[in-house]
């Protein structure tokens, strides 16, 4: 459009330079993106078909890495854990976030104080969150010990040491970190709903519950969708929290695909398998992000 404006036509050097400038300015970022994002993705995909171990090698071995990957017990654990973690994390964060947003939306005194309290964990790194929760969940000094000191001798809360339950402690810490953010998204959605429609419904005799069920929640669909996309993306990428909270243990009871990829690539010298696990992670995220981004971009046109 503007760059080829006929009013500015004329073939002198300055004008031609002006026409090229926007593209020249964009070029470094474009180049960086092509190399560091898409080039690197291509490289990792290629490695996933090679017999790379400690160092990258370029001898192709077909789908061998993928076949082996799916036979590794730890990968199985990691995928199962991700399924448990992601579904609980997304569901609980959405429920708490939505509930807090609805409650805060009832013209609450002190909203200006409560909102930042709900939100601040979002500013912390997962390493800090994990470090903090590691202590509360530790039976020796944390919640269990506190209850014992308060005289509740039979209280037991040692999930973090329990192979079966440890993955749920990750959910607790992650929900603590992210639910306030989901609340903010729903609150923004609620504030965008036209009050006139609600008043009309009220005049027709709708109860508060009916109004939420029939009018308000359906209108929050975009907020639900954004929350789902962001939370699932965070869940699939989760790495720091597990490292800080449990280190993947006990044993590998809290391994996730992200921790699996790291350990196979960098500490177990199975780079080919590490690369193939990264490719699976990318494909999982792409399956969610690509349709979403496509719809978002098309809507904007």
């Amino acid at each position: 459009m503007a760059a080829t404006d006929p009013m500015l036509g004329g073939a002198d050097f300055r004008t031609r330079l002006q026409n090229w400038l926007p593209k020249i300015v964009l070029a470094p970022s474009f180049a960086v993106m092509v190399i560091f994002v898409y080039g690197f993705i291509a490289f990792t995909v290629y490695l996933s078909f090679t017999g790379s171990r400690m160092l990258p090698s370029f001898d192709l071995v077909g789908f061998q890495n993928y076949e082996r990957l799916f036979r590794i017990r730890e990968w199985d654990t990691a995928v199962t854990n991700l399924a448990i973690f992601a579904s609980l994390y997304i569901i609980i964060c959405t429920i708490i976030g939505l509930m807090l947003a609805i409650l805060l939306d009832q013209k609450i005194r002190g909203e200006g104080l409560l909102r930042p309290i709900f939100l601040y964990p979002m500013a912390l790194s997962f390493i800090v969150t994990g470090t903090a929760w590691k202590w509360f969940l530790d039976p020796a000094i944390g919640i269990e010990n506190t209850m014992h000191l308060w005289g509740w001798a039979s209280f037991e809360f040692n999930w973090i040491k329990d192979r079966e339950m440890a993955i749920y402690t990750i959910v607790i810490a992650a929900v603590w970190q992210s639910s306030g953010f989901v609340m903010a998204m729903f609150l923004a959605g609620l504030r965008g709903i036209d009050n006139e429609i609600l008043k009309a419904a009220q005049m027709d005799g709708a109860s508060t519950f009916q109004m939420y069920r029939r009018i308000i929640l359906p209108q929050l669909r975009p907020a639900f969708l954004s929350a789902f996309v962001i939370l699932s993306h965070l869940a699939i990428k989760s790495y720091d929290l597990v490292i800080a909270l449990t280190g993947g243990g006990p044993g590998n009871a809290t391994a996730l695909p992200a921790t699996f990829m790291y350990s196979y690539t960098f500490t177990r010298n199975q780079m080919g398998i590490g690369a193939s696990s990264a490719v699976i992670m990318l494909m999982t995220i792409a399956a969610i992000m690509v349709p979403y981004l496509y719809a978002e971009l098309r809507e904007k046109k």
Partner: protein, 293 residues
């Protein structure tokens, strides 16, 4: 965020309101307690933690754990405290935030005001790059940093964060500039203003809010990053998050919980400070991060 209009259609009874306040306060406690407990325990001598109640206030207040975490605690093999790593994180975050924000502003300007064929495609590709799991780039990135001879350095981390920060910063500025009146740009162009003149004189002066949002977002992400720090800069150039994890997880001998607590608060302090000072922008930034225009 708009303030609820004075006459809302939703009415609640007195009993319901009491219940609402109760639930909200309980959740406030749930969010506040972990940090509160960390703070309280960072001011206790170690015996009070191991032998006593985590929730109790210190009987003997001390700042010893803080001094130790800052300058003498064992991080890995060296008893340096967290101070050098805190400095590493600042040396990494400040340039990375500045460069990615400038690049994002220029990209957003080009993509919205100098539209050319393929621009939407470029934007789509940039957008998707924000959401890749970084595991997919770890191996080639390690190779490239090695080839450039900056692996294990702060420069390497700056490069990494700039590269993977450009997607988000472009997204922010692109969405912000899309709403900026194109007629103003056209008028300036007819008056003979060039590409950079328009950027400096017209776009930048009205970009204050989005620059703040972008800087807060990038700073939070970069400061809180662990994966890149652990992969590319362990050792002397490690950022604060990696050092904190080393302090907490690889200390041998007696676990000095109070020192760990103090260290965790130090690692959290800069982003918390930003959040307290500019929390309103922070929320807005997070919302924009959800790909809403």
């Amino acid at each position: 965020m708009a303030i609820a209009s004075a006459d809302s259609a939703i009415k609640t009874s007195k009993v319901a309101r009491t219940f609402i306040y109760l639930v909200l306060l309980l959740f406030a406690l749930f969010y506040l307690l972990p940090f509160g407990i960390m703070l309280v325990n960072s001011l206790k001598p170690l015996e009070e933690i191991t032998g006593g109640n985590m929730i109790a206030l210190p009987q003997q207040w001390t700042i010893e754990p803080w001094l130790s975490a800052w300058s003498t605690a064992q991080i890995g093999v060296e008893p340096t405290g967290l101070r050098p790593y805190f400095i590493n994180s600042i040396a990494m975050a400040v340039p990375a935030v500045a460069i990615s924000t400038i690049a994002g502003a220029l990209n957003g300007y080009v993509l919205t005001k100098w539209h050319f064929r393929g621009a939407t495609w470029i934007f789509g590709l940039l957008l998707f790059s924000c959401f890749i799991p970084f595991q997919i780039v770890l191996i080639p990135m390690a190779r490239i940093l090695g080839i450039l001879n900056i692996s294990g350095t702060t420069y390497g981390l700056i490069l990494v964060h700039v590269v993977y920060g450009i997607g988000f910063s472009t997204l922010y500025f692109r969405n912000y500039y899309a709403a900026f009146p194109t007629e103003l740009v056209r008028a300036a162009q007819i008056d003979g203003a060039g590409f950079f003149q328009i950027f400096w004189r017209i776009m930048l002066p009205s970009s204050g809010p989005i620059i703040a949002v972008c800087c807060i977002w990038q700073f939070t992400n970069i400061w809180n990053d662990f994966l890149f720090g652990a992969s590319f800069a362990s050792g002397g150039a490690a950022p604060m998050t990696v050092a904190l994890n080393n302090l907490v997880n690889s200390s041998t001998g007696v676990r000095e919980y109070n020192v760990h607590f103090a260290g965790a608060i130090m690692a959290a302090a800069p982003t918390l400070l930003v959040y307290i000072v500019a929390g309103r922008y922070f929320v807005r930034g997070l919302m924009a991060g959800s790909v809403k225009g």
